[in-house]
């Protein structure tokens, strides 16, 4: 197996999570990841020269998503999509309902962020990338990374304190 495929295979769960975060839907996220992987494989770049492969993969996905957004108007995300897949087995029913509501709400709040804020927030908070890496992935100065993270968290905080997480 080629080195790039091996690396990609290791990273697929995280890349899939990021794609899901960007698109707001499992199906669209998988489509985005699939297209990005095809792109990475067809580039056939000598990846030995790339210092940070993980950041490189995130970059391709981010750019691919930007291209897709430019090309077509993205359909409205379906908030039922992922939040409904949480299992209610073995959990207290009230707790499960609360948890489902909370997840739905988070999904909605993240998707209400602008694309720029969303990608920066996801990379910092969910993917736990350093500010330097995010700056390379999104091709923006570190100062912009910091202000976007700040803005996204402020917005989320404001929305949460307004409605609470468990409200419908």
């Amino acid at each position: 197996m080629s080195l790039v495929k091996k690396k990609l295979l290791e990273m697929v769960p995280q890349l899939r999570r990021y794609s899901y975060g960007l698109t707001g839907s499992i199906d669209k996220g998988d489509d985005l990841l699939q297209d990005s992987i095809i792109k990475i494989l067809s580039m056939n770049k000598d990846i030995n020269h790339i210092d940070n492969l993980n950041a490189y993969f995130y970059k391709i996905i981010s750019n691919d998503w930007k291209d897709k957004l430019k090309k077509r108007k993205v359909e409205t995300y379906n908030i039922e999509d992922f939040s409904n897949t949480f299992s209610t087995n073995d959990i207290d029913l009230n707790e499960a309902i609360d948890s489902k509501r909370k997840h739905k709400k988070i999904h909605k709040l993240i998707n209400e962020l602008s694309e720029n804020l969303k990608s920066t927030f996801l990379l910092a908070t969910i993917e736990e990338r350093s500010y330097k890496e995010i700056s390379e992935i999104l091709d923006i100065p570190i100062g912009t990374v910091m202000s976007r993270i700040n803005e996204s968290r402020k917005k989320l905080k404001a929305l949460i304190s307004k409605d609470g997480l468990n409200e419908n």
């Binding site: 197996m1 080629s2 080195l3 495929k5 091996k6 990609l8 295979l9 697929v12 769960p13 995280q14 899939r16 999570r17 899901y20 975060g21 499992i26 998988d30 990841l33 699939q34 992987i37 095809i38 494989l41 067809s42 056939n44 000598d46 990846i47 030995n48 992922f82 897949t85 949480f86 909370k102 997840h103 988070i106 999904h107 993240i110 910092a124 908070t125 969910i126 350093s130 500010y131 910091m146 202000s147 993270i149 700040n150 968290r153 402020k154 989320l156 905080k157 949460i160 997480l165």
Partner: protein, 211 residues
């Protein structure tokens, strides 16, 4: 140290180093307002992380997995065939692409079964497509060009050998690999520890004359 929201985010994201981190924590310990802000943001992060945690445990869909998992590497399959390996093959392989190569296949060990049942890996296909792009002026779309492999093409592995750099190389002959007025007849691809490179591509330009 002045603690603003940017600094609080940097602290939460582990971006503060040594002295700055110490200073931040010293101030935070005596300032309940900052402590509250840190706790609030951590709580939001925690909730959002929990939401995204499930997808990590999900099974990777086959449409994605299939792109990355190959049945068995062409190189591995090939190594199972009993063939002689020639340690050095002289300087002709050093000739770069684009040069006229006086390639003499008789110098390599040939194999008996020249129709092995395996597919060319994507990486090898991509290398060939990239070379065709160079020949045609790199103006053609990669994806469209890659379509040449979707047609029923047949090929045979003419020989396997090790070149001067101790790389495993395959000499592949194509029967019907065509793109526009090009007919690709032969490719030599070498494996550099998982990374493939193409060292030769033979093609005929223009219509093929019947003899």
């Amino acid at each position: 140290m002045k603690i603003d929201d940017l600094k609080i985010n940097s602290y939460i994201d582990g971006e503060l180093k040594e002295q700055e981190l110490k200073e931040f924590e010293t101030i935070m310990n005596v300032d309940p307002e900052i402590r509250k802000k840190v706790e609030d943001l951590r709580k939001i992060n925690q909730d959002v992380k929990a939401f995204y945690a499930k997808i990590i445990k999900d099974e990777v869909p086959p449409s994605i997995k299939n792109l990355l998992v190959e049945e068995e590497s062409i190189w591995k399959k090939f190594s199972k065939l009993k063939i002689g390996i020639i340690p050095t093959i002289g300087s002709i392989l050093a000739a770069s692409l684009g040069s006229v190569l006086t390639f003499n296949t008789m110098q390599f060990a040939s194999i008996e079964d020249n129709r092995p049942e395996f597919m060319l890996e994507d990486q090898s296909k991509n290398l060939i497509v990239q070379e065709i792009q160079k020949i045609t002026g790199e103006s053609d779309d990669f994806i469209i060009l890659s379509g040449i492999f979707e047609k029923q093409i047949t090929y045979s592995i003419k020989s396997k050998f090790i070149n001067n750099s101790n790389e495993n190389c395959l000499n592949i002959e194509f029967d019907n690999l065509n793109y526009q007025d090009l007919t690709i007849t032969e490719a030599v691809i070498c494996d550099q520890g998982g990374l493939e490179k193409i060292v030769k591509l033979s093609f005929i330009k223009g219509p093929i004359q019947d003899i």
